[in-house]
Symmetry: C2
């Protein structure tokens, strides 16, 4: 009888942090061994973290990673784990040309076994792998306890042909894949369908181990799984948290046993959690323990504050109300209520005296005077950040970022922008969802995310977290009397539909008109988006949750005179 117990180690790594990543491999290997695993599989580029971008090009880093792998193999053996097969990702070197390679290695018996180099190097959207790696060309099969284990790394299963196709002739018993597949709304189904297709081609079960956690502006959702040759789901790990689960592969069985199958969150919970995890990890990996942000009473800052409270606890959130002469009383109340609901610190810093001091010297009019207010607020937020060591959060959403409807160096200041990839209509939707979740018992910090394995608990809130008034009132920047967003932009219900078609689906002017949008709206939106490219480049990092996020995916020249 040939059976093999695989442990799927869905872990959160940090780019460049070889020590911590290696320690985590050791810890998960120990736990896997205690559960009688034979093989433990980690995500893509486990030791180095992923994506490492041009760090891969530093020879000193490659050497350090190589030394760390050898040290880790010895340590595993020294700890009595030498019999375990530990499959980790790391960086290798192409001996022909010295270029880095995206490599899987097997640690066993105190030795680093030669492994497998990723063949297909994605170079679209958020990926720059062809830029930094050279491609592997050989497939790889490990024979472990009589079980033939094939290997693939992430993109290798997304493309037809290559080493996975070659494995069809190799009569493998199981395909083990290591992945660094970033989150995108709805991607769970795409990955599963793809895995089923490859399992069918290979007529063998497929193990899909994915990274979890935020890394700069990417969020990895985990959601590792295993699928049988016939498309039966035999294991699914939870999303957005570290996890270790087990799959037994028995070559004598026609169908593999079904192991644990975690539930999948609904779409709002999924997106919200991705944003929270992105922020939480960005803070942890950059050594921030608290955040500060302006609270205007509007919906954007309210949602960001709620996310921040869920990420680090309300007591580590410093809200700053910065009313001007144009701020309504309702807005001030909404800001105070929100801060109270999440248990945040709350300071009021009126900007009128500062505005007057500037105006005495500068005497600005119209938009310049509006920007001045936003920039005074930016200075105050950064003063809190600098003097208290807090991460400043920018609260802009994707709709306003797309249209350039924000003040650069004003409301756009911050080190991280949690909702930069969330359209305004989705901001409202997520806010409603968060209030509903609170009613169902999800307290502050009660998400299923890394480091919090207690499930929906957290600090309970009476009533709504986000004041209903912030959700239902017409959006306004409140930079002049009676100002409304709709003075400058189409209504968001319409705007977001046009933006999605224009940006994410790359529809041109003729397509947009054929989509049924009216000419004036189309021309307004296209003009705004085309002109805002420079401003988008200056925006802080923020989590990618959509098919196309600004910053990572879309690289347009600033000096771009193309107009349809």
């Amino acid at each position: 009888m040939s059976t093999l117990r695989f442990a799927l180690a869905q872990i959160d790594t940090c780019v460049g942090d070889l020590d911590t990543n290696a320690a985590k491999v050791l810890e998960y290997s120990r736990r896997a061994s205690e559960h009688h695993a034979d093989v433990v599989v980690f995500p893509e580029m486990t030791l180095t973290g992923y994506p490492i971008e041009d760090l891969a090009l530093r020879a000193t880093f490659r050497k350090a990673a190589w030394d760390k792998a050898q040290e880790l193999a010895l340590k595993l053996a020294g700890d009595g784990l030498g019999g375990l097969y530990v499959a980790v990702g790391t960086i290798g070197t192409d001996h022909d040309n010295g270029k880095p390679r995206n490599r899987m290695i097997m640690l066993h018996d105190g030795v680093v076994w030669g492994g497998y180099d990723k063949h297909f190097l994605p170079n679209y959207g958020v990926f720059d792998e062809f830029r930094i790696f050279s491609a592997g060309e050989r497939s790889k099969v490990f024979e472990i306890n009589g079980v033939r284990v094939g290997v693939a790394i992430c993109e290798d299963i997304w493309q037809d042909g290559g080493p996975v196709a070659k494995l069809v002739k190799e009569n493998i018993d199981v395909l083990m894949t290591m992945n660094g597949s970033p989150y995108e709304e709805g991607k769970t189904h795409v990955r599963f369908d793809l895995a089923c297709k490859r399992a069918d081609e290979l007529q063998a079960p497929l193990l899909y181990v994915n990274q979890v956690g935020g890394q700069d502006d990417l969020v990895f959702d985990g959601g590792s799984f295993a699928v049988d040759y016939d498309g039966t789901l035999i294991e699914r790990s939870p999303m957005f948290m570290e996890n270790l689960s087990y799959v037994d592969i028995d070559t004598d069985k026609t169908h593999q046993d079904v192991s644990t199958v975690a539930p999948v969150p609904n779409s709002d919970e999924e997106v919200y959690t991705a944003c929270v995890l992105g922020l939480k990890d960005y803070m942890a990996k950059n050594h921030f323990t608290g955040v500060c942000l302006g609270l205007s009473g509007g919906i954007d800052s309210a949602l960001v504050a709620a996310m921040a409270a869920d990420a680090c606890g309300g007591e580590h959130v410093q809200g700053i109300s910065m009313p001007s002469m144009y701020s309504s009383d309702g807005s001030k109340d909404d800001a105070a209520d929100l801060a109270h609901n999440i248990g945040a610190g709350y300071d009021v810093q009126p900007i009128e005296p500062l505005f007057k001091a500037f105006q005495q010297q500068l005497d600005l009019q119209s938009v310049a005077a509006e920007n001045l207010q936003a920039r005074i607020r930016g200075v105050i937020v950064m003063a809190y950040s600098n003097s208290r060591g807090l991460l400043a959060l920018a609260t802009g959403n994707k709709s306003e970022l797309a249209c350039g409807y924000s003040t650069i160096y004003g409301d756009a200041v911050g080190g991280y922008a949690p909702i930069k990839d969330i359209f305004k209509t989705k901001v409202w939707q997520l806010s409603r969802w968060r209030n509903e979740a609170a009613r169902q018992g999800m307290g502050i910090g009660g998400l299923h995310i890394v480091g919090n394995e207690d499930g929906w608990a957290g600090k309970q809130v009476e009533g709504d977290i986000i004041p209903v008034n912030s959700i239902v009132k017409p959006p306004s920047a409140e930079l002049r009397p009676g100002q409304k967003d709709s003075d400058s932009l189409p209504e968001y219900e319409l705007l977001d539909k046009v933006l999605e078609a224009y940006i994410e689906h790359a529809h041109g002017r003729a397509d947009l008109l054929a989509d049924g949008f009216d000419e004036q709206t189309v021309d307004t939106v296209m003009r705004l988006v085309d002109r805002a490219e420079w401003k988008r480049r200056q925006y802080p990092l923020g989590p990618k949750v959509s098919a196309l996020a600004f910053g990572r995916d879309r690289r347009l020249p600033v000096t771009n005179a193309f107009r349809e």
Copy 2:
């Protein structure tokens, strides 16, 4: 007898501006025809501009470019230029997979001839071509008036093998290359040596036509040339300006006749001019006619102001002195002198009252209080920018950018950063050079650059342009009493050497110690550079003049915990 007159059309294109680029092709073709040219050769991606980045992925743009090429072919024929062979670069489509291609087409007799697709797609440093294009696989030879003309596009001659190697068997009479090769100090020699190597392989003359002008953060220096099969220089176009020159290829001659050979500027003039051209084109292509910047009396803002005056005329430069309680009288005088020398507008906006107003509310200490001063200045600079439609210039140099020695949203604000790729020691060197050039008759705006073909003239200046005091005094941010840069940083003479080794040559810690730098300096510099990654991402665009400029070439993860 087989002779062919080639016109080398070194032009400045704008990305996405199909109309203007096509009009320029028409104009240069007309001039070439008047000089009896048979073939006129334009730079890489002439019609679309270069580099077009992800704009290539928009189907509507590709269609518009294709339509424009056909319209242009007809227009050339309609204007009596149908007999001319007009070689232009544009974007094509790979019919197998729909991906864009970097294409050369030949316009002749009112028709767009099928052309040649670039084979080697650079994907390192500033280049992202493999990301957006698919690779051509066939070489191409045009037979024109009995002369066999081979074609290559830029990177095709930088790599061994490929279509150029195939041309060796094709017995071509001349290789015509279209290039979009960005400026880098000292690259002129590298290009020439490379061209000689290929000409020798082909045993045929090589024509190298390069783009000129600034495009976002790249500067193309032109410097087109032709080299005979034996390495003899037969033509060299001037750098940094549009130009049309001619090369006769006579297949009956053993050696081709030498045409015009433009002089090459010295290294300081070259770098200075690259910065000025980058700024000038960034302004023109983004429709700015003037700039504003803070003038501190220090060397960085003085050099940037001089460059700005050379780019757009002193009368379009608005200097703003923003003294604080810590500003020395010397600094205020130096700022005023500089503004006077270049003929700039000059306003004084003391920041003390504003600083006091903020401090009354915030009571900040130490670095937070220093940053507050810089951010108040940032607000003022942006107020000038917004209210007067001026391009705000950031005056930071590469040394401080590398070390994070600047205030984000403070002195780093601006739309363009002319010296972001210039180390501090080079800032002094260029300042001295500019003063010396003025003594030799180079007035304000008197550079050999696009749009100014009058040579070294410009508005004459009496004495120095940049006050000697700004050059010789110890650098200080003047944000607290008696502050000096050397309180926080190693002396610049040393710092810049370490930075160059660490950043541009990717030396690791052990290498740097082996280079002879002392341990404390090495550790200080590495720590500063490693921590400043996020701040560098927020920096405005600026011209690349070195082997490795921040922004374009170096993509490091922000959350990067690798420490040697």
